[in-house]
Amino acid sequence: MAETLTLELVDPERVLASEPVEMVVLPGVEGDFGVLPHHAPLVSLLRPGVIRLYEGAKVTRRIFVAGGFAEVGEQGCIVLAEGAEPVDQLDRAAVEQALKDAEEDLADARAPSEEERARLERAVAIARARLEALTAPVV
């Protein structure tokens, strides 16, 4: 096995991953980025998307996050996620329904305040990203 780094993926309610990985690809707000061992120290915001854990060139696990923060340091990579769910536990029908509901909420909102609108748009973006996580081909 090649050199590894420690990935810790936690969300407020539980620990989703705490294990050595060869590479992890994170959905940063400014684009996806891969983290290999000895990555330069970095703190990044995450957008809704999929975190991919790699062993060799193969993806071993895919975990959806609705957002959060990633810190890459000497000790490895720490991800503070929001609304994290393993992709294989997502339910296609429920996800599609959630997206439809979110879009309807946004369309139905009459004269929403700026914050209200931002909140609804965010919900739609998260729901859409979740659906993409399911439909996108596994790389």
Binding site: V10, E13, R14, A40, V43, S44, F69
Partner: protein
Amino acid sequence: MPSLKDMRTRINSVRATRKITSAMKLVAGSKLRRAQEHAEAARPFAQKMAAMLANLAAAVKDQGEGHPLLAGTGKDEVHLIVVATADRGLCGAFNSSIVRATRRRIQELKEQGKSVKLICVGRKGRDMLRREFGDLIVEFMDGIAGKRRIGFADAERIAQKVLALYEAGQFDVATIVFNRFKSAMAQIVTFKQLVPVEPGEAATGEGVQAIYEFEPDEERILAELLPRNLAVQIYGALLENAASEQGARMVAMDNATRNAGEMIDRLTLRYNRQRQANITKELIEIVSGAEAV
């Protein structure tokens, strides 16, 4: 002197009470285990977030005034206290000790000429504080403390309320009061400052502070991180509180069960004495009646 029938009724009623309290104790015991696991599961996130926050705060320290949640309003006039209690009673001094500490804190702050506002989480705390400080309560969050499983979304709701008040300039310093879970026997009333955030010491690995790259810039990350941190702090407090409540109830119900047992023993003894006295009296009556003939 109560009649034998009265005493029998009383013994039966105490027996029924004991059954209830011992059942409540068992329920609280299993809920306590769940609540404890839950609180433990939430701890890594809070720790990691505190570490990240400390690093970030250290990184932006030298730049201007920084984020309002970190720097505060520069004043110390209006205090907001989030009072986290349970929705139910029958858990010993759990609720009253929080309320007592809160009352004392309010008095202290008032003596220093500061004004106080309250957010009540949990019905019991509101009920007890309403009479005295009803005009201070700005918000009552219902349906959180009594939940079987407190979700992060609940904590977020409270955090949003606090943030909205802060942005509207309604207070300068926010504190949450809750019972920290030490063990099933001991819960400690704890005040934790929420706003302005007090970042801990940055985790400096052997004195060498890693130079982080930030993506996007520090300020935007901090602006996202600080409100989240508030929710995480509140979440942690709520979970500790939930575990403490079950612990306190378990101990209270254990005591109640034991007391009921003692009471039953005492009453049974008195009942038997009374019964024997009655029998003796009747015998004497029969014997002396026979002698008189």
